[in-house]
């Protein structure tokens, strides 16, 4: 497999959009790990990132805005042998579908949630996203957004995610490494990818992230939850650590379903024993 095996239609993203880099990094990671388009499932949200559905060769479920995560949970329960990915934006995953993210993390559902975080709603032409910094002016927040930004990394860590990472669309090499580690991890994984929106966000640009992000050094221990939370909280000071912030091994949701011990649910046979009639007599 090489990355072209995963390439479907030519992307329609804006020239210079961070999605281009993310798209290539995803395909590279898939190819390097020798996955085939038919051997995994990708659930896409709705937004500019969601439009990636037509640019990737894979088993794809193109969901509703905000509902990719609950779809992915169902997909994984149905056939837990296949890797399951979610590709969604910040508005989709932290706004409309925020509740699902928390509960998917709690269950350690083995899905890789890759969030394209550009702090704006690109596809609806630039309204503030839940990750926008306080005071960010947009069409929907002309006087500056009153709310403080959500902290996706801290939210995921405290909700039970077992793999939490941050990448930057302008650093493909580290992005590929992070994605490969996420694919190798068993359990709920959130990969927040900082991604400049060249059309609508004139503040959080490539230059902004180059200046404010840094790679975690090799001595950093992602298994220490307290340290991970400290790293996650740095974004409140507009500092963005890149790399695997938190990683711990724990049984996944499907690991704990004894019904799946014999294999995938899609291939299983229910036991239809007349003994269940007894409770109605």
């Amino acid at each position: 497999m090489n990355i072209n095996d995963f390439s479907a239609y030519k992307p329609t993203w804006c020239p210079g959009c961070g999605n281009w880099g993310i798209g290539i990094a995803i395909k590279t990671a898939l190819a390097e790990l020798k996955l085939k388009p038919s051997s995994f499932v990708a659930v896409f949200g709705i937004g500019c990132s969601g439009n990636g559905n037509d640019f990737l060769n894979a088993n794809i479920l193109h969901s509703l805005h905000g509902r990719a995560v609950p779809n992915a949970i169902g997909v994984k329960i149905a056939n837990h042998n296949l890797p399951v990915f979610v590709f969604a934006g910040d508005g989709d995953c932290y706004g409309e579908g925020g509740n699902h993210l928390i509960h998917a993390a709690r269950g350690n559902h083995d899905i890789k949630v890759i969030v394209h975080d550009n702090m704006v709603y690109g596809l609806t032409t630039g309204q503030a996203a839940p990750t926008a910094n306080k005071g960010y002016k947009s069409k929907s927040t002309p006087a500056g957004i009153i709310e403080i930004p959500i902290n996706p990394l801290a939210l995921a860590i405290t909700s039970g995610a077992t793999f939490v990472a941050q990448a930057f669309a302008g650093n493909p090499a580290s992005m590929i490494q992070i994605l490969k580690q996420a694919i190798g991890h068993k359990g709920f994984s959130l990969i927040n990818i900082l991604q400049p929106c060249v059309s609508f966000n004139k503040i959080n640009t490539y230059q902004y992230y180059l200046k404010n992000s840094y790679l975690l050094d090799n001595n950093y221990d992602p298994q220490n939850q307290e340290e991970a939370l400290k790293k996650a909280m740095e974004s409140t000071k507009e500092k963005f650590p890149l790399g695997v912030i938190y990683k711990i091994d724990k049984p996944t949701y499907t690991d704990q379903l004894t019904q799946l011990n014999q294999g995938a649910l899609v291939n299983s046979k229910l036991t239809k024993n007349e003994a269940i009639f007894e409770e109605f007599r």
Partner: protein, 569 residues
Amino acid sequence: MNFLWKIGGEAGFGIVTTGSLFSKIAAKSGYYIFDFIQYPSLIRGGHNSFEALVSDEEVSNIKETIDFLVCLNKETLDLHKKRLTSSTYVIYDKNEFQVEGDYIKIMVPFSEILKRLNGQSIMKNTIALGASLAILGGELEILNKMLEKQFSDKPKETIQYNQKFAETGFNYIKTNYKDKIKQYLVRKEAQDKLVLTANDAFSLASIYADCKFYSAYPMTPASSVLSILASWQEKTGIVVRHAEDEIAAVNNVIGASFMGVRSSTGTSGGGFALMVESISYAGVSEIPLVIFLSQRPGPATGMPTWTEQGDLLFTVNAGHGEFPKIVLAPGDQEEMTELTIKAYNLADIYQTPIIVMSDMFLSESHKSIELEKIKKILIDNKIQRGKTIDNFSEEKYLRYKLTDDGISPRLIPGKSDIYYQANSYEHLEDGHSTEDNGMRKKQVDKRNKKIITYLNNEFKGPNIYGDLENADVVLVGWGSTKGPMIEAMKQIVSKKKIAVIHFSHVYPLNKEKVITNFKEGKRYILVENNSQGQFGKLLLQETGVEIKEKLLKYDGRMFYTEEIINYLL
């Protein structure tokens, strides 16, 4: 022979459990039952009651006149005075309150027995069951066996201790009210029966239909499906997820169903409202979806523990945009078993949302049905997966291929080297998003064709009860009013030429198969448990048949047989 037995008492003291036990005892004694529970939306402090109609013949209704009323507190008597007659037996404890009025008074010293046997107040129920069984001419042994079953995981002493209360109540009647004993529950040979609510029936049928995944959020009166199926995970292999909300539940199901696993979710009106966007999503992406919708009175939180058929038009219209959807409304527990199995088949055949409607009256009422009948429905059922396939070896696989019947082969992802996308956007035949005007129209037409295919193949016209040809008066209803309508018909058929038309396949409607049942010169009366005659509107819209006369009830209670009869006479 038929009689109505009712028990009432303070909420939180096991009235519902006791009632269900009574229904099972009556069924085991060889009789048919239909029961109904009434309880407020709280756990302690209100009044709970349970009533069962017991008969020699199959029943699926409740009558208004109470023949035996067991009052565990004074409130039970006060709440039911207008349903009592001079031949009603009132069973009570005179040490707790006095009963005025012209009834047959049966005094049982509940509190004294409790004190003597050192029992907790919940055991009043067991004394009352023993006493009831005695006054009805039933056998104590059946109750004792039920108690053994109920406490089968407890030590022998616990069982014997509980049986002591039953026996004391039973013997008290035998000793003190010998002359008042009726011979109603005398044990007789009869076929084995199951005592099922519609929720039990949906759960059982789901297992036999191969539903391997159920995801839901608790909401009365649908919640028991979640707890029943959850309790069967180990026994059957089904996976049950208690989701964070109804939107998650329906989307879990869509995800699993996309992957080829038969799945469903269940809820009531409020939760269903949250699922509506996803119903539209399943419609366009052509993913099989089964939703169990048990109605309760709305709007909003409404009256959570009562009954209404108020969500029909909402259900029929649920989901933005235009797409095929099939709505089934079984009339009783047996039909629920049959149509649940059919719903899963239809979902796979038509690759679209199927909604099975119930309401609190069906969902929480037990009906006795012969075991053999249920077994026949469950075991003889054929799983039909339509055009679902594991592999595809012809030309290029097209998920949304344009076909004459509107249905395209649906490949289960992950089973072959073929990959494709299912899309919530309008799409090309291969699944990729499109905004092309030509393909848009073709895909809309393709999806609409499924409605025609369904109406020609699986749609079933209304069931007719009685002699429709010669009837002057015809009751028309859908869903849970079936039992009350048929029973009313039976009771007045000697006085009136009457028939019943009952719809279980409520949407879409095949005009030709429906209008033949509506003729000039008859008096058609729409019987619905709502205030706007919603099925009447739907019938007019879909077939042009207009029913002007309406008997509507929307106080949160189901129709008593007498209410329909009194309206007609």
